[in-house]
């Protein structure tokens, strides 16, 4: 896998990509020497509320970028927009709408993704996970994993009838899946229904499933929320090794330990906008971030990890409850 990814990603080593970030100015929307994702004019409003309004953002290839920001900053909505699960309000329209120079456009790995379906975005190698897990409950953990594999002959309707046609590929995929499950400490659960897993395990499964597709860039929406802390450490190591194999990682996280521990670059969103960018330690002391992140708690020391993680945990909890209520409401409709 590492070779395939490295090939897709060009020739530089992970360390070189990271080193390039040293020259990047620490300001919102700064230019990256080797941007894998470039976003322009992406905005989304729900009624009167502007949830996302990103003028310009570049994500460097081959590094781990953290996207942070207070609850409701628009991180999840931003993920939805660029992965094709939602459409920007600023999208180009057939009639009317914004002029071409002002219309939303974003480019991934050299290809424009403006009008691409979610499935097609994923096929291009930009694969995301969801903040509210989407485990396929009534499929086993292993079947969940196998769904993630790409280019499956057996997914063709006519080939499906003839097992010998796809059996070898299925076997190879199964081996890969089992290795990943082992890594994510889900191996004993492989024959359990995914619905029976705990919240944290579902997060892990979803991440492992996304990795089954050998993404060029993986986008994780709060990957460690609810995950057993003992496991977090080893998974962070895994994410770093994915990066060292050439994968680009963009993740949303509230846990500042994690952000500081593994991210090469941090992008801060507040009220839909990108308000700051830079390496983790610089960003934390940025005045705009302090304002955005802590609101009333101006005088609190942002370096105090304990404070941040604790409030973050409370925030996540509130957020999850609120989002669940919201999704229930929409389901009822």
């Amino acid at each position: 896998m590492s070779n395939a990814v490295a090939k897709k990603q060009g020739t530089k080593s992970a360390a070189e990509y990271r080193a390039e970030l040293n020259k990047v100015p620490h300001k919102p929307g700064s230019h990256k020497p080797e941007a894998i994702l470039t976003v322009d004019n992406v905005s989304r409003s729900f009624g009167g509320l502007t949830a996302v309004d990103v003028d310009h953002l570049e994500v460097q290839r081959g590094v781990i970028t953290a996207l942070i920001g207070p609850n409701g900053a628009g991180k999840t909505t931003f993920f939805n927009l660029i992965t094709g699960f939602d459409t920007p309000s600023s999208a180009k329209k057939l009639i009317g709408g914004p002029s071409s120079s002002e219309a939303a456009k974003w480019e991934f790995n050299g290809r424009s993704l403006g009008n691409t379906s979610a499935a097609a975005v994923s096929k291009q190698g930009m694969v995301r996970t969801f903040q509210l897990t989407k485990a396929l409950s009534r499929l086993t953990v292993l079947q969940n994993m196998l769904l993630g594999a790409q280019h499956q002959t057996g997914e063709n309707f006519f080939a499906a009838f003839f097992k010998p046609v796809w059996a070898a590929q299925e076997k190879a995929n199964t081996e890969k899946a089992l290795a990943l499950l082992d890594r994510f400490k889900l191996l004993e659960k492989k024959d359990d229904m995914a619905g029976s897993l705990s919240g944290g395990q579902k997060k892990l499964l979803e991440m492992a499933r996304a990795l089954m597709s050998d993404p060029v860039m993986i986008m994780l929406d709060e990957p460690m929320a609810g995950v057993n802390p003992a496991l977090t450490q080893s998974l962070l190591g895994h994410i770093q090794s994915l990066r060292d194999d050439g994968m680009t990682v963009l993740f949303v996280e509230h846990d500042m330990h994690m952000v500081r521990h593994i991210s090469d670059w941090v992008v801060v969103m507040a009220e839909g906008r990108v308000v700051a960018e830079g390496p983790a330690d610089t960003v934390m002391s940025n005045q705009a971030v302090i304002d955005a992140y802590l609101g009333a708690h101006h005088d609190t020391d942002l370096g105090d990890d304990k404070f941040l993680t604790d409030t973050a945990a409370v925030r996540i909890e509130k957020e999850v409850v609120a989002e669940e209520a919201r999704s229930k409401k929409t389901k009822k409709k």
Binding site: S117, T129, L136, L147
Partner: protein, 328 residues
């Protein structure tokens, strides 16, 4: 005593009727839709009817059996595409509404008097019009054969020939669905039932897979429709919402998302109805419930049974509780 034996005979006979088999084929198709893919097709009888018309009218136009059968299949495919293209990108409820309406439209058009010459209007088409090419295929010869306690013509209307062919079809289709569902194709289908967005996020075109499933189940419906009218006649009013409802009942009774559930459900469903009806006729005097009323009562029993089923055994007779299917 004779009465009880007669009821038992009727029950067992109803279980091997070719129409029961045809019904099972349609239920297998509905199971591909709902059980495996999560598609709410509320108009499976419409698929049956369109297949039946396609077949009967083609035979009437002088086409040979296989050509007419192919037309029935193509009609099912076309109907599925027509219903799927506008709805499968939308939420599940839209497909439900559109399939109910479309099935009714097919029936209404079929029974319209302007089309009397083609469809026979509300009287439909008698079996003699389209039955012979099928009977002619029989290599069972003339005469009668007795198997167990059943004696039937080898080839005639409702004979061993049509029983053998339709039940063989049931087994073949069950086998094909099994092959599909154990494959990676089936995995995508079942995943769509669970969460479409998750499937999209992994790079699969949900619309395309849902369409394929709709076509597969719809074609099975159409074939079921052809086999249903062969031993009887084509009557549009007997293939309406009621029939869709009965197919749903049979599928849920046996167990959605299982291979044999729809078949078992169909068998039990028909046998139980005969049992209730026959039993009532035996033990309840005519002054309390006459023949017509017992028939109606047996339908009430069916409705109540379905309610109890959904409440107490939502996974059906052989369904897996973990894979049960009512949280649409």
């Amino acid at each position: 005593m004779d009465g009880i034996i007669k009821v038992l005979y009727d029950m067992s006979a109803s279980m091997i009727l070719p129409t029961t088999a045809a019904f099972a084929i349609a239920a297998i198709g509905l199971n591909v839709h709902f059980g495996f893919t999560g598609l709410l097709n509320m108009g499976q009888a419409g698929f049956m009817l369109i297949g039946a018309y396609g077949f009967a009218i083609s035979i009437g136009a002088g086409l040979p059996f296989w050509a007419a059968f192919l037309i029935a299949v193509l009609a099912g495919i076309a109907f599925a595409l027509l219903l799927g293209i506008p709805t499968l990108k939308l939420r599940g409820d839209y497909l439900a509404i559109v399939t109910i309406a479309a099935a009714e439209i097919v029936r209404m058009i079929g029974r319209a008097s302007v089309l009397n010459d083609v469809t026979g209007g509300s009287n439909g088409l008698p079996g003699e019009n389209f039955r012979n090419p099928f009977s002619d295929l029989s290599f069972f010869g003339d005469g009668q054969t007795t198997l167990l306690w059943f004696t039937f013509d080898n080839t005639g209307v409702n004979g061993w020939w049509s029983r053998a062919v339709t039940w063989l079809m049931v087994l073949v289709f069950a086998l094909l669905v099994w092959l599909l569902m154990r494959s990676p194709w089936g995995r995508v289908i079942k995943s769509i039932r669970e969460d479409e967005d998750a499937v999209r996020s992994l790079g699969k075109s949900v619309f395309s897979f849902k369409m394929q499933a709709l076509v597969v189940g719809g074609v099975l419906g159409s074939i079921g429709g052809v086999m249903y009218i062969l031993p009887t006649s084509l009557q549009p009013d007997s293939m309406g919402r009621n029939m869709t409802f009965l197919i749903w009942t049979a599928m849920l009774l046996g167990g959605a998302a299982t291979i044999f559930g729809p078949i078992l459900g169909t068998l039990v469903f028909f046998a139980t109805r005969i049992f209730v009806q026959g039993g009532m006729r035996l033990f309840v005097p005519d002054e309390i419930l006459n023949t017509q009323q017992t028939e109606q009562f047996s339908w009430i029993v069916v409705g109540v049974a379905l309610m109890l089923l959904v409440i107490f055994r939502p996974q059906g007779m052989i369904g897996n509780k973990k894979e049960l299917n009512f949280n649409v």
